[in-house]
Amino acid sequence: MEPTKNHIQQTMESLDGMAQATANPFLFDKVMNRMRNAGQSQMVKPATLRMAFAIAVVVIGVNVFSLLHFNSNSSTGQSNAFQKEYFSYITNF
């Protein structure tokens, strides 16, 4: 048992008098590079988000417009007449 105790003691003391690990000498430049890159990607992000939002608004707008337009027209006799004429044109053709 004694050798184990000695080993443990020696191992526990193995960090005594250790020196500090030194950082990369180009740490500052690397940090600045990463910050610049992160800044650029952040600049791109809102633009793409805005574009996606604009497309979504246009698509939803067209859908809502067509839904309201065709719904309101479908009940009128004018559209029925148009439908009849249109379909008769197709069948006669």
Binding site: P3, T4, H7, I8, Q10, T11, M12, S14, L15, G17, M18, A19, Q20, A21, T22, A23, N24, L27, F28, K30, V31, M32, R34, M35, A38
Partner: protein, 215 residues
């Protein structure tokens, strides 16, 4: 011409004194950091680079990961210096960010490892990370202690997060219990208790290790 030289030297001395007496804890320095002054950033990295790297490498036990997280720590410091209220010293605040970032990274790594194990159990293709961590040799350890310190670091890796943090800050970074208490937002007796338990657990882990390896 001694008088002229004397004046000149004094002139140089007067010019340089404010630069050398640049107190990193001063409000001027912090306001310069807040304004995004590059030379203040550079000075901060120069003063704290080794401290942050040494702390991070002690917790992560991997040189490449430590370099990456050290950079992240400084990015976080520069980004959030506006929110630094000065309730603690700049040094304490930076150490705190270093510890938090390192522990977050370890947790993320463990999650990925667990997920990979689960995937491999279900026969899904995944790159299983090495389960047995290779020995870590801290670059600051004396040559004659290299092997023993590698065994100790492996044991330290098995400690609970708080015990590991206190042990690394004290033994690797050489901070006092009072400084560690500030960083961990706890009391000095709590740090003493953490260190006591850390040492007890390390002795148990090492006893198991030597019992296995001596048979």
């Amino acid at each position: 011409m001694p008088p002229l030289c004397g004046n000149y030297c004094l002139f140089i001395y007067q010019i340089h004194i404010p630069i050398f007496a640049f107190t990193l804890e001063g409000t001027d320095f912090i306001s310069q950091l807040r304004e995004g002054n590059q030379s203040a950033y550079k000075e901060l990295v120069k003063q704290f680079g080794n401290k942050v790297h040494n702390t991070v490498i002690g917790i992560l036990q991997n040189e490449e990961d430590a370099e990456d997280i050290t950079q992240e720590v400084f990015i976080e410091v520069f980004r959030s210096v506006h929110g630094f209220k000065g309730e603690s010293t700049l040094s304490t605040w930076i150490y705190r960010i270093s510890v938090v970032k390192s522990l977050e990274f370890l947790r993320k790594k463990k999650r990925i490892k667990r997920f990979a194990i689960v995937q491999s159990l279900f026969g899904m293709e995944s790159v299983l990370p090495a389960l047995d961590k290779p020995h870590f040799y801290h670059p600051g350890v004396q040559l004659e202690n290299k092997e023993l310190s590698a065994i100790l670091f492996k044991a330290v890796d098995q400690l609970a997060e708080t015990q590991k943090t206190a042990f690394v800050l004290h033994k690797v970074e050489g901070l006092s219990y009072a400084e560690i208490a500030d960083i961990m937002k706890t009391s000095v007796p709590s740090v003493e208790s953490l260190m006591f338990r850390a040492k007890q657990n390390l002795q148990k882990i090492l006893a198991d290790y030597y019992n296995k390896h001596e048979k």
